[in-house]
Amino acid sequence: MRHHGRPQRPSRTVLVLLLLASFTVITLDVRGGDHSPVDPARSLVGEVLGPLESGTAAAVRPFTSVPDFFRTTSGLRADVARLKAQNAQLRGRLETSTVDRNRAAELDGLLATSRTSGYALVPARVVAMGPAQAFSRTVTIDAGRAEGVYPDQTVLNNDGLVGRVIRSDRSTATVLLVVDRESVVGGRLGSSMEVGFLRGRGETGDTGRLDLDLVDSSAAPTRGDVVVTWGSRNGAPYVAGIPIGRVASVYASPRQLSRRAVIVPFVDFTSLDLVGVVVAQGTHGDRTVLDAGRATTGKAAR
């Protein structure tokens, strides 16, 4: 660098080696698919960084919530939170009431409804959010295998469906939000019981929307219709009857056979905090498992 005042040429070898190393990692991960050789490294980093992230989130929470202190006193704040939770809970009940009515009309309706009200939930907090630069919508929650959280479990909050668990480490888990573009959820229209598939658009803010493709092209969703989850076998990855969102507009494209509706999700994905993971009945973990009725009051009393 200081030879005869002329900058020394940096060695290209290092650059080439590092680039090759990067390409190798990418190739290994892409070719590996579901059983990628990178996964052990990923879970190792998750085991180490997960608790660090939980700790940092807990440490910075007092600072990130500083703006709230100026808005109102802490007593009023608690009241507002409790009332909000109650409000959201009542609204959720109202929005699923049409579905419940339809279900009750069917022969096995009552049975299914009683089952939907019996979900066991593990409460968890969102501790880290993936950046928008990564183009995928994922969050980390502070509950993992130790709390009974495993991949392909439904995640919801007071307002409705949040997403599903895609990976779980010992004390943290990664959740794919329903607004991610890779996410596909089976949905059911509350008014007509028609089924369809909801796809995310990859946007989280106020513009976060889901696209609903109905299976039956003759079915006509109307504005304001509520969409709930359709549910899968054994409740994995999604359990049935969780409110997702409301129909905002409907399109019928001549090229495609099915109708397409745009759904506004109930959940505000930019301010996710407390969520619940639906676990199997009788799960025992490090944390108290709440049944559906008590879970909502637990959140309200927070």
Binding site: L15, L18, A21, S22, G205
Partner: protein
């Protein structure tokens, strides 16, 4: 001593990767957060040169690729930060002198890094990002990185100077 140095560097990258998803997630602007890891790599490039920064970029990028909420093909940030470290190291003789030059280097590095990351995503369909969406996010992240530069760059550059092994000028 070199072991201590390696530990310090690892700790620095871990702090950057964790801050990026926790503290800055709540300060995000439209979901975009500053790339703290990228700023650290640029600081390393300005102080220590291209080879060191590319190496650190590879390790830091791999860490960001594997840290929890992220769910993309591993190695994409590593690739981006290797290139960023090398390029920023190549221009350090001009950029190491004035604050304006350093800020311009950060802006260019941020643009290159985020673009490489987005392009690799388009090539791998992981996830299939449209050009329009990428163009919407990249300028925001460049702006945020530049805004964070005065807080991160001087501290990390001082740290790298301190961690530099005492060598005779060659």
């Amino acid at each position: 001593m070199s072991l201590v140095r390696a530990l310090c560097l690892t700790a620095l990258m871990v702090v950057a990767a964790v801050l990026q998803v926790t503290l800055f997630a709540s300060l995000s602007f439209d979901g975009v957060v500053p790339d703290v890891a990228l700023l650290v790599v640029v600081a390393a490039a300005l102080v220590r040169g291209p080879e060191f920064a590319a190496g650190l970029g590879f390790l830091g990028g791999l860490l960001v690729d594997l840290a929890p909420p992220v769910d993309h093909v591993a190695g994409r940030w590593a690739l981006a930060l290797v290139v960023v470290g090398y390029l920023a190291g190549r221009v350090r003789h001009d950029a190491g002198t004035s604050a304006v030059a350093a800020v311009v280097t950060v802006a260019a590095s941020s643009f290159v890094g985020t673009s490489i990351y987005a392009l690799s995503g388009m090539l791998l369909h992981d996830p299939a990002v449209s050009v329009g969406e990428a163009l919407g996010v990249i300028p925001l992240s460049v702006l945020y990185d530049v805004a964070l530069t005065p807080f991160v760059l001087p501290v990390t550059m001082k740290l790298f100077r301190r961690l530099q092994p005492h060598e005779v000028a060659y």
